[in-house]
Symmetry: C2
Subunit: 430 residues, 2 copies
């Protein structure tokens, strides 16, 4: 028997498909609800709406499911019963991302005036040091299921490294497309795993358009683009953030959670994950609030939220938070809906506030976040000060990446440069 | 009752010391065996030999101890009963390093011709992405026990970041000394945690000499230098690599283990850790071989090993493996002894072989290692080819740091730069 969890309903598509992805039974259109069999498609044939994975989730005793999860591997595959992956996924070669630290951030809480318990979910601990390892790991399983032999993506950084590394470990070919003017560090990280790295003379939008062309061409046959034709599976990887946070809190929902917004997909999947846990009886059914965080230089969702709009007007990004710089976020309207439905909000911070928040997190908790982490910490501070975020409630802030990848954003250096003598050190007055 | 494990003997120093560091009972001279009470000292008062921590390790049922460890936190504190740290260490704010992945490296094994099982112990998964988080976390506990309020070190990179982050999280002041000509990335990583970072006009040796002066001066009062006056405690942190490898192999000793050599401390402590596990009955008592790995541009221990010497002649380092560039390794003679006693060896690889090995590990396993990881993988390949390392035995190779910190060593880039068109992509012939 299957539980009626979230988007999952009684399957109305043929179950005799050759594709076996665990509890996933179909793709379902977020707009019109139309179902289509599991396959490498991302848009609804009826209405062109975005497709997402629908499940028959494991019914029965929540205690038994909880025990099964807790006995699983220390990574996202402990949640295999809730993901579109085969049951034996943990035995296949992959990077085993996830189960990153949920850090109780008492010193940061003190600085922000949060008294109800503040936690940082630190995804810089993933294999290639960003949350992208989660989504790519799930996409790799879909690629295998559909018989793809090349893993591909368009990327401006974190995703390129995650795809290159995951493909190498899985023994798949990879071919990653990046804009030609990327920072040297990100280029090295994208190229070092030995896949084909191709620089495109153009912007990230040009790279994306090129990838869409490639999918329709015989040249791209057998290619799985993690963030295009495998996107419905890929996106599900973000649910594991919700699962881990709740399990690490002792199978308890956080009261408030602050999530960065790029395309908005991560925030919507965290909401989906929390609702699944409730539906399955793994956590108590009580309210939670989801807050979205953007950089002022790319804040289309925050602007729409504040203006009371249901749609998002695209912007041209100009911010140091490059991993969040998507001017036309596909899931923007869904984010607005979730923030409003849960009693959350969407807020933005300036580049200066981002840098300041990176420093605040580093000096209070010893966590060096990438700019996206500066965005969530900065927005948390701003929301507390504005009385929007309740400081007496348990709050989780996401850090989705590593400061080592966005070194240019931080201007930190020595307090003093001195000769090697005690007199010189004394004179420096430290 | 106490087990007679390794350097631990019946305590002959006063037990009524105010310092409580778990099972640690004294410091013991590696040369003359003289004991001294636990304190911030690193050299024997009788013979100036190096001091190390002696224990009364937990006796009794190995099964019970194993169960206690397995029920502990997913980090080095699960081994608190075997470390110089207070019993409640896991409850104090710290970075919780350790329990990094032991990756079964089948694709790398295939390339190297290893058939007996090849594993990479990947310490790039630590909080600041190097094994230094392990040793610093133990030093922080000693600093707290001795009432130090400032954490300090001399460093050329990884250690600076580890100390800065650990001090921030623990709420201690930090003051870190680096040579003035360090790479920008390492400077940012050292400074971002908000401690005092001081650049010294001189070489790393000058920085070290200055720190020794500072310890003897009133200016340095209340300062714990993790790699000087806290060194005996700090060094013990490396034992956790041995513990984790054995536990992750199912409480089994590896047959062969390949360890990088800088000062040589890590290799000697891994040997100490393995012997403790045997003495405690946590693993079966059978032979293991420890291999040391150096870069040709700084290979004093490998040279001494090959020449059959017992002492190590200092060299002037010149290699891209900067984290291993210690020309006069303090533990060199002990490394020679361990390599010979266990049937291992000490080998070296060129800078070109290091770069090649970084690429090999990345493209087979999706692990991007720093240069020190290139040294161990390169040496492993060389030792297999030479018939010194037995390919039919279980072998563990250490990767102690992250490729993101030594980007300059790797010249990886796009295969092609093209216009965003299918024709251009076709013409690129990928």
């Amino acid at each position: 028997m299957a539980v009626q969890a979230v988007e999952s309903r009684t399957s109305d598509v043929s179950a005799d498909s050759a594709v076996s992805l665990g509890p996933a039974v179909a793709l379902s259109c977020r707009e019109c609800g139309e179902r289509t069999p599991l396959g490498p498609v991302f848009a609804c044939a009826a209405c062109f709406g975005p497709l997402e994975v629908a499940y028959d989730l494991p019914a029965g005793d929540p205690e038994a499911l909880r025990a099964r999860i807790e006995a699983g591997p220390a990574g996202i595959w402990r949640y295999a019963p809730l993901l579109p992956v085969p049951a034996d996924v943990a035995e296949k070669p992959n990077l085993n991302p996830g189960f990153t630290k949920l850090v109780k951030a008492d010193r940061l809480a003190h600085e922000l005036g949060v008294t109800g318990g503040l936690y940082v979910k630190d995804d810089s601990g993933n294999p290639t040091h960003s949350f992208k390892d989660r989504v790519v790991a799930v996409a790799v399983e879909a690629a295998r299921a559909f018989g793809f032999t090349t893993l591909s993506c368009s990327s401006t950084g974190n995703l390129a490294g995650a795809v290159g590394a995951a493909a190498a470990r899985a023994g798949l070919r990879s071919c990653v497309f990046i804009p030609h003017d990327l920072e040297a560090g990100k280029v090295v990280m994208a190229a070092v795993y030995g896949g084909d790295l191709v620089a495109i003379e153009g912007t990230y939008d040009d790279v994306n358009r090129f990838c869409s062309e490639l999918i329709g061409d015989p040249l791209g046959e057998g290619w799985g683009f993690v963030n295009v034709n495998l996107r419905p599976y890929y996106a599900e990887g973000s649910k594991t953030l919700a699962y881990e946070i709740c399990e690490q809190l002792g199978w308890r929902l956080p009261d408030q959670i602050v999530v960065p917004i790029a395309s908005g997909s991560q925030l919507t999947k965290i909401d989906k994950g929390l609702r699944e846990l409730i539906a399955l009886g793994l956590v108590e059914d009580r309210p939670y609030r989801i807050f979205g965080a953007q950089a002022e230089g790319c804040a289309p969702v925050a602007r729409a939220y504040k203006a009371g709009h249901d749609v998002v007007r695209p912007v041209k990004p100009d911010t140091i938070a490059k991993s969040l710089a998507i001017g036309n976020p596909a899931d923007g309207p869904y984010v607005l809906d979730i923030a409003r439905r849960t009693g959350g909000a969407v807020e933005e911070v300036t580049d200066a506030e981002i840098v300041d928040a990176i420093g605040l997190l580093a000096r209070t908790e010893g966590i060096f976040a990438e700019t996206a982490g500066g965005v969530t910490v900065g927005v948390t501070r701003k929301l507390v000060e504005a009385g929007v975020l309740d400081p007496s409630l348990t709050t989780v802030v996401l850090n989705t990446g590593d400061g080592l990848k966005t070194l240019d954003a931080v201007a930190a250096g020595p307090r003093a440069t001195i000769r090697p003598s005690l007199d010189a050190f004394r004179a420096a007055g430290l």
